[in-house]
Symmetry: C2
Subunit: 440 residues, 2 copies
């Protein structure tokens, strides 16, 4: 088998065989294929696409390129949840305790990654003493004992995906749906999930800017799941403005506690309930969405979901009192109000710019070496479609270095446009895609 012939074949739009795809991943992982041939292939894939068979074969080759977690010692159906990434997305902090409190095991290993804020693991470190490193045995024991563990990734999961992604990142070949789908699914499969709920973001703060692209990506991933025997559901949700009222780390933990306490912002709450209800349906005997949702609402109402978060924090060495007293979570020294510079309806948001604002304030990582400031971030007062008067507060910025505030404010203000006429916000949940949709 020669890489040259494989590139030529894909260039001509032909389907690569399972053996060819396994060859690429095996040889590239072993540093036996030069980057320049792989990047040429990736660009050919960008233009010619991949069939579902190719996508599945790539997914499995990458999933099997490193450790594959064996969660069989955990009782019950392990349902994993993954978001394609957006600004202000703290849903994992909410849905994990909800479904765990309903008896569905949540065994989640996440990387830290780069972004506007830290990942779920970083955010949880807002709790004093919270430990993210646990041995594999303790990890499994904890999930069996209390149904939930959220830890940092220690295993070498899908290293081929990591290597391929790094190459895509510098060769303008990230935005190809089959490659994105196989990247996401390979990691979920390697981390041992039986079933998967995907939150596919769509809009100005997401990889997929428009609905059609998000729909295609979601469909590919649900298909992959089906073809490899891991039932997958994808919720396509709006990311044309940040999710919820807060962007940051400790700020998002506070907001997650709000939702678990039944007093969360409406759209964020709706999305969390939708995701949690789907996860519960997949992980339990319940096959009615309405019944599943009732259960989700019940554990929130009865405080059981919040208690589950406290139990998780305590078990992993953190101060569980902070769950009930979120005012004790890390707080920034300085804040600055952002006031509307004109009257009008909030018409559009460059959501990724709000993310950049958080990064400027210190809330995210620009490089792997960056330190995250857990306490900084943004409170957003107004949603798209709302009317604001000139001088009215639309947001608050939080920082530990006051000189960062002015820059951040400029960036934030430029993210929004105003309109004189009424503007309707996008619906939050655009579509839910499950196995029955791809069978049609």
């Amino acid at each position: 088998m020669r890489m040259y012939d494989i590139i030529e074949k894909k260039k001509q739009g032909k389907e690569l065989s399972k053996e060819e795809i396994e060859y690429i991943i095996r040889e590239y992982s072993a540093d036996k294929l030069p980057d320049y041939q792989v990047s040429a292939l990736l660009m050919a894939i960008f233009f010619k696409g991949m069939t579902m068979d190719e996508t599945v074969n790539l997914t499995m080759a990458m999933a099997n390129s490193g450790d594959v977690l064996d969660l069989s010692k955990i009782n019950g159906i392990k349902v994993d949840k993954h978001s394609t990434g957006g600004v202000g997305d703290k849903t994992s902090l909410v849905v994990a305790p909800i479904v765990a409190s309903l008896g569905v095991p949540v065994a989640k290993m996440s990387g830290r990654g780069l972004g506007h804020t830290g990942g779920t693991i970083d955010k949880l470190e807002s709790f004093t003493g919270f430990k993210t490193v646990i041995s594999d045995d303790d990890f499994i024991k904890q999930v069996n004992d209390i149904k939930i563990a959220l830890v940092g990734q220690t295993a070498n999961l899908a290293p081929a995906d990591k290597k391929l992604y790094a190459l895509r990142d510098v060769t303008a070949t990230v935005n190809q749906k089959s490659l994105i789908a196989s990247s996401i699914m390979s990691k979920k499969i390697a981390s041992g999930a039986d079933k998967i709920v995907l939150d596919v973001k769509c809009g100005s703060g997401a990889f997929m800017n428009n609905y059609d692209d998000a729909y295609d990506l979601a469909t590919i991933m649900v298909n992959i799941g089906e073809m490899v025997g891991r039932e997958t559901i994808a919720v396509i949700s709006d990311m044309n403005e940040p999710l919820g009222r807060y962007v940051g780390n400790a700020l998002e933990v506070k907001e997650a506690i709000d939702v678990l306490s039944g007093k969360g912002e409406e759209r964020l709450t709706d999305l969390c309930i939708t995701l949690a209800s789907n996860m519960y349906m997949m992980g339990s005997d319940t096959d009615s969405y309405d019944l599943a949702k009732e259960e989700v609402l019940r554990v929130i109402r009865e405080g059981k979901a919040l208690d589950k978060l406290a139990e998780l924090v305590k078990t992993q060495g953190g101060d569980e009192n902070q769950v009930y007293h979120p005012e004790t979570l890390p707080k920034a020294l300085y804040c600055m109000d952002v006031l509307a510079e004109q009257d009008g309806y909030l018409a559009s948001c460059k959501t990724s710019e709000v993310g950049m604002t958080s990064l400027i304030l210190g809330g995210g990582r620009e490089t792997k070496e960056s330190e995250i400031d857990l306490s900084v971030g943004i409170r957003i007062d107004k949603r798209l479609g709302e009317h604001v008067d000139k001088g009215e507060r639309i947001a608050v910025l939080y920082a530990n270095e006051s000189e960062k505030l002015e820059d951040a404010k400029k960036r934030f203000v430029n993210a929004y446009t105003f309109s004189d006429t009424e503007v309707k916000a996008e619906p939050l949940i655009k579509k839910i895609i499950s196995r029955k949709d791809i069978m049609a």
Copy 2:
């Protein structure tokens, strides 16, 4: 300027600026751009193409990446001739002496390269004592004295093209017309030609398999020439079977001598006369093709073209008697007849397979380090369209190692197909494209 943005721009089908193209060539030549970004760009160019402005800017950036020969001390208009490469192509050995004998200076530097046979320089080494290395001063003096010098490439011509081509060669991005055109033209421009005659081959033994592709490539090159002030003419000629009766090195020298003696194979002779007449037109005051052709036929008839070859051989240290006694050129020890295995009309030829036959016999270079055997090769008795009887000889193979003959014969036989019904051979010269064609 960031290479990432340039890749993304081309991926979206946008035109790269002169500055961007110069940046790529400058930085890549200086080893400051990684291969993997350049190969991703090349693949994007394969799919999205290049505009004429981009192609011209790439050509000039590559031409200027190394030495640019100054031939201004040579009197007259320097007309260079280039073939895109085919099997049995010995036209340079014929047309160079013809136009030199008509007073048009031929100052040709060629690389040795890889292929089914050696290059023009290799072939000339069939003459005992022929030297291909001459100092720059002597090179210029020789052209002024006798109007012709054919030497090996000593200057560092278009090194960026060399580096880029090596990358294209391993990433399946060779066959893109703008890249091919700029590669060829950059070398011609760097080697100091005032005007250029191109022989664009078309068919089963050429880069361009079909007429449309050859036409496009020819048009792009004529356009480049026009845009950089080097008048260019392209002759599109058939390469659906080897050119002439011989493939090899000394064998091709013999055949060139046949043509210069007025007794060459018809199609080969026609092409040589067409190329030489166009070169003479461009390098002289003559603007009538018919008059130019008359002059070309006259120097052949009067033996002046053949004498010019002898003068060239003598001046460069070779034995000029061999020009008049080609039977003294290197000869192989063994030969083997190839007989027709069936009756029928010769219907088609995989010409590149005939080239491979020559390579197997030892006539070409597989790697830069390979030694060429000047004496081996193929005599082809039958042209496409001719009828042959079973058992009739269709070719003779020449080798110095008898064990190579059987393999070579198999390869050769498999190159041809037979037909029961009459087959018409392709016309030799399909089109001549000059500045007036691209103005239309």
